[in-house]
């Protein structure tokens, strides 16, 4: 049977992230964790292939132990198996080390098709998918907005800025999914209860055949040296006038700035 691996990441719902107005730091407390939206579209794509032509779908996530919940959710949506890659040794990984670790887990599991989301909403890098494919030495197609399986190949509508390609790649290969790919299904209540009864596979450091040089902080070529909140641009002038006067006032300001003549 077609073996599909879907990589999912548990992320904070960034739409809910707020800044502390006093300290300017992120308030993470109470921010719900969700399956990254692009990854969820990837999972839905895999489940649709399972529904239409039969497949074994494995949800794979690397993260802290809490990421278990994202995997339970994947099971409740219909994934057959869930694997959590977790170990202190994997901590502090950048995209390079993350992708090499995930690639090692994927190699261990065996695969025909790998689907990842295009990018995670907390990091927005879009790097892990193509990097996994590189570590595995297989073809990848990024930015999939349509995906079909024809024989032993996938046919993908690959999005670019204002155009697209229709591409065909033989299995095995890796696809990165856009959230436009589909509307993910909901879990079912019964599926949730079954998901918590299912065994979750956990891969720790010792379970993966990979060099220490390629995991965790040590395997990460990049390092965050500083993080800070953006300084808003200084506040300008604001007026409260009637509409006619407002328009007049603005026009005068724009003329002072030579915007009206030079803007055209």
């Amino acid at each position: 049977m077609l073996k599909i691996i879907v990589c999912i990441k548990q992320v904070p719902d960034t739409a809910e992230v707020k800044l502390d107005p006093v300290t300017g730091t992120l308030i993470r407390e109470g921010v719900p964790s969700i399956i990254n939206p692009d990854d969820k579209a990837g999972l839905e794509a895999a489940l649709r292939l399972k529904d239409s032509c039969g497949a074994h779908v494995t949800a794979l996530s690397m993260g802290p132990p809490q990421a278990e919940l994202a995997l339970r959710e994947a099971l409740a949506m219909g994934a057959d198996q869930a694997v959590l890659v977790t170990d202190r040794a994997f901590g502090g990984a950048d995209t390079w080390a993350t992708s090499s670790t995930l690639a090692a887990a994927i190699r261990k599991l065996g695969y025909d098709l790998i689907i990842t989301g295009r990018q995670a909403i907390d990091g927005d890098t879009a790097q892990v998918g193509p990097q996994i494919a590189e570590h595995l030495g297989i073809a990848n197609i990024s930015y999939a907005e349509e995906l079909t399986l024809i024989g032993d190949a996938v046919v993908v509508k690959r999005q670019y800025e204002n155009r697209y390609h229709v591409l065909r790649a033989k299995l095995p290969c890796l696809i990165t999914a856009l959230s436009e790919l589909n509307e993910p299904r909901y879990m079912t209540p019964g599926g949730i209860f079954e998901a918590f009864e299912q065994e979750l596979s956990v891969f720790a450091r010792a379970d993966l055949d990979i060099s220490d040089a390629n995991i965790g902080l040590k395997g990460s070529p990049t390092r965050v040296v500083r993080s800070f909140t953006k300084q808003p641009k200084g506040k300008g002038q604001a007026v409260t006038l009637d509409p006619q006067e407002s328009a007049q006032w603005l026009l005068e300001r724009l003329e002072e700035k030579h915007i009206l003549s030079s803007g055209k």
């Binding site: 719900p32 339970r72 409740a76 299904r185 909901y186 879990m187 079912t188 209540p189 019964g190 209860f193």
Partner: protein, 379 residues
């Protein structure tokens, strides 16, 4: 004693909330204004198993407990009480008595489609002369060979006209009073069965509430639920469970109005500051919050009791009584906190206030709940 929801229940709540926000909330105002039954929502509820939550998997249900079901009704009612009662009417009143009292044949034929999302259920007990006094049934069922012939009229029937399967109560022996009542499973296309007048209501206006008319309607004897004369007990037991659904609905309405109001008072400015900065607002919110949480404990306790105790009538009556009165009190306060805007249809709290009122009336008025509770205290 554990007051935390399990992880399964927490994830279920998240599922119901997400579904409610994305699929139910966008329609809430429209179906209220146009008094339209949201068939498209029912189709989605069926697809995702929301109409089969507390039923066994072997009959196509989700195999979950009553608490999960209560969480579902609560979260859906938080954004739309109409959709909440459609679920409750189907699950607690339409399907539940067949699960509890049905024969194997009846479960396979009727519970399986109801729990599996293929059919919608309803329940017909109330009559023009038999409301709180359910014993005053006028609808008659007369046995004729392998059929019973039903004649009579039911009123205020939730899901009427959209349901496929109805559990109907009728007198098989008038002389025996409540012991002469029997329950029957009636399918929508039985000859002599028709849908009468549709009620125009104050709230839950998207739900269908109609008259059922039986005019020499033959019902196969194998559709008799339980045995002859057991109908009253079936009805009472069904309502014990149904009240948990309504309690959850009321809790959801209260929570929904509260959440809308909290967001509003932070935005709305008077005298140069958000009205949430005034102590009057703060104290009122504090009272409402405490009351809603107390309600929640009663509702969840009743849901638990249904799965663990043989008799949970008092728990469900207390939950329903308190939740309904909470819903009414909270929504009324919320409209007040909104000020004049709260009375307009630009904001959902006026709808929630209208919706809340029904929870004090149906499936036993608050007075009936007090009778049940007092009866147990003084027995």
């Amino acid at each position: 004693m554990d007051f935390e929801l399990s992880r399964q229940h927490q994830m279920s709540r998240r599922l119901f909330r997400e579904f409610a926000e994305q699929e139910v909330k966008p329609l809430a105002q429209e179906i209220d204004e146009t008094e339209r039954f949201p068939s498209e929502t029912v189709e989605k509820l069926q697809r995702y198993g929301f109409l089969g939550i507390p039923f066994p998997k072997e009959y196509g249900g989700q195999g979950c407990d009553s608490l999960t079901y209560a969480l579902c009704v609560e979260e859906i009612s938080r954004v739309c009480a109409t959709t909440g009662v459609i679920i409750s009417g189907h699950v607690s009143l339409g399907a539940e008595p067949i699960k509890t009292f049905g024969t194997e044949y009846q479960k396979e034929k009727f519970l399986a489609p109801l729990a599996g999302g293929k059919a919608l259920g309803a329940f017909g007990l109330t009559e023009p002369g038999a409301g709180t006094d359910a014993a005053g049934q006028q609808t008659k069922a007369v046995k004729n060979g392998d059929h019973y012939i039903l004649n009579g009229t039911k009123i205020f029937i939730t899901n009427a006209g959209h349901a496929d399967i109805y559990v109907i109560f009728a007198m098989t022996d008038k002389s025996k009073g409540t012991r002469g009542i029997s329950a029957f499973i009636v399918e929508k296309d039985f000859p002599g069965f028709s849908i009468g007048k549709k009620e125009l209501k104050m709230g839950i206006r998207g739900s269908s509430t109609c008259e059922l008319i039986f005019d020499n309607c033959p019902v196969p004897a194998e559709n008799l639920l339980g045995s002859e004369g057991k109908g009253f007990g079936i009805a009472m037991k069904t309502l014990d469970g149904g009240r948990i659904g309504i309690a959850a609905q009321a809790l959801g309405i209260a929570q929904g109005a509260f959440d809308e109001t909290v967001a509003y008072v932070k935005e709305r400015k008077q005298f140069g500051k958000p009205i949430s900065a005034f102590q009057n607002t703060q104290f009122q919110l504090a009272d409402l919050k405490a009351r809603i949480e107390a309600t929640r404990l009663l509702v969840y306790q009743a849901a638990r009791a249904k799965d663990t105790k043989a008799n949970y009538a008092v728990e469900s009556s207390m939950a329903k009584l308190y939740a309904a009165e909470t819903a009414m009190a909270v929504t009324t306060k919320c409209v007040q906190l909104y000020g004049g805007y709260g009375y307009t249809r630009d904001y959902p709290v006026e709808r929630m206030m209208r919706d809340a009122k029904i929870t004090e009336l149906y499936e036993g008025t608050s007075e009936v709940q007090r009778m049940v509770i007092a009866g147990a205290i003084l027995k």
